[in-house]
Amino acid sequence: MYEFIYDILKYVLDLFLTDLKYENYILTLLTGIIIAFAIINAVLGGVLALIWGERRLLGRFQQRTGPNRWGPQGILTSTADAVKVMFKEDIIPEEADKYIFNLAPLLLVVPVFIIFSVIPFGMGLYAVNINVSVLFILAVTSISGLSIICAAWASANRIAIFSALRSVAMLISYEIPVGLSLVGILLITESMSVMDIVNYQSLPFILIQPVAAVVFFLGSLAEINRTPFDLTEAESELAAGYQNDYSGMKWGLFYLGEFAAAIAAASVFSTLFLGGPNGPILPGIFWLTIKVVGVLFVIIWIRATWPRFRIDQVLNLAWKGLFELTLVNIVVTSVTVIIWPEGDSNRILYIALANWIFAFPFLIIIFRLLRTKNYVDYINIKSSYPIGSDKPKFEKVGS
């Protein structure tokens, strides 16, 4: 994509200005601006569509219509919301640290847009090709934790700080299983570049690495603060969480950042595990769009169904469940990669088979370990007292 736009610009520029001094630099800058403009606007349009689609789908999941007043099928609802948010008053609390308070929303939004620079939208349709782009994605996504703690600390609000501490504890815990779940893929492809991983996937990695796919999906749900891991916005406990004191367009930026992060997570999942732009007949960008929409549908479906975790349950799941699963996945994958030599045409099938065989018993064992004490047993232990009450402090002696 870069070379294509660069050549067109150079052709156009040569028509008017023949002897330009720093032509290379100007052309590079212009090309970069055009690509960034295109990608950011595509993501913004996607966010507007996603907000509408989520509200509409959630409505249908709960047997109501959802927004259907503005525009055909209510598609302009989110646009109207965006315009409204822009014109709202921007309030900064008196005790807030102004500089950090203003910086926090940007810290959340900008990294999300940066992620899209390494994602291939089609075959050869990408902004930049870094040879360590998987590492780049993991690094960039972890900035969101900093943004959340900045927002909470700067707004000098104890509810916001509770929310941010929970959120950051969760984000840091889930980065480890997310990072380790990708090791299996890196072992098989022997490359850290997203382009290589996409080119490798004649068979999508979700079939070769089922455990890693599940762990990565759950981890990315936690990274983007989605149900069932949306502890930061537990409305009944924390009101709006870390964005309590934000209003107007800054709040809008947080909102935008969350939904853009959902799209980013879906597109990363579909490039790494669903084959990205690979697919028959249609061009690559359609296949990627279809896969991203499918993953987003699953995310919304989960939001409509599953209840929220408690903070201890979330951390238990990360450290006692997913972390071990990823370790097991790494061991199984590395052993199979060594056993079957390269060049064998059925190598990838053998690896997939081994992974599937080892996946299910370990999943069951891990979930057994995670099982909490049964509620019925609790009743039997304390049968003489009503549930929830302690032993009475003062008992009559001798009566």
């Binding site: 789908l57 409505g59 249908r60 999941f61 709960q62 047997q63 109501r64 219509t65 259907n68 007043r69 525009g71 055909p72 099928q73 479906w301 989960i302 409509a304 169904t305 599953w306 069951i364 979930f367 057994r368 995670l370 099982r371």
Partner: protein, 225 residues
């Protein structure tokens, strides 16, 4: 197996996704072309020439169809229905009203002197802004002249406009509720269907005519001697 419940929940919500919607849209609902042509009783080809604006709106699913929801006949709205011809200005309603918001001013009309002279009504005001719609006035009315109404879209910007005076009561559409009026329910009366402007239909008994009263009281007494 632990974790199976998660997937059971997912199937439940997936079933809900493909099941019909319970939302009742009010006061109008958005409709596409087919629903619009069904509502206007015209084929789609006719819609293009006759209602081009609505056709374009229907094409993008934004045409409006007004919705009137089913309403129970005994529903009490925030208005009253009053029949001038049935009212004798006895002011029972005003006496029974616990809030004292019914104001009746009368003068002797000079008509019907044989039966004890009718009253002419100068003023019949009900301040619905303070009314609690207990219905005691309707229960008290001996001639079925006052009924609870069924209309509920009477929002106003000023409290003055909430006062129902004689002119509005006589001129407004008469859709009485069948609350405390069992004669309506026997006839399967639907308040939205019918405008009961004829006072003779509204009562259990008809108001006797002048001739009847004369027969009952004057002629009978004369014959009895």
């Amino acid at each position: 197996m632990i974790g199976l419940g998660l997937f059971k929940g997912l199937t439940v919500t997936l079933k809900n996704l493909f099941s019909p919607v319970f939302t009742v849209q009010y006061p109008d609902k958005r409709a596409g072309l087919f629903a619009l042509s069904r509502y206007l009783n015209k084929p789609i080809s006719k819609l293009i020439t006759e209602n081009p604006k609505e056709f374009i709106m229907g094409l993008v699913g934004m045409a409006k169809i007004p919705v009137k929801n089913d309403q129970f006949p005994r529903f009490r709205g925030n208005e009253f229905v009053w029949y001038d011809d049935r009212c004798t200005a006895c002011a029972s309603c005003a006496k029974y009203c616990p809030l004292g918001i019914i104001e009746i001013v009368t003068h002797p009309s000079g008509e019907n002197m044989q039966a004890g002279e009718n009253y002419a009504i100068d003023k019949f005001d009900i301040d619905t802004g303070r009314c609690m719609f207990c219905g005691l006035c309707v229960e008290a009315c001996p001639y079925d002249a006052l009924h609870m109404g069924t209309d509920f879209e009477r929002g106003n910007y000023q409290r003055v406009n909430l006062v129902l005076d004689k002119d509005t009561l006589t001129s407004q559409n008469k859709n009485p509720s069948s609350w405390f009026r069992p004669q309506f329910e026997e006839k399967d009366y639907d308040p939205w269907d019918k405008d009961l402007s004829n006072p003779k239909e509204a009562g259990r008994h008809e108001k006797p005519s002048y001739q009847d009263i004369k027969n009952k009281w004057v002629t009978k007494r004369k014959t009895n001697g």
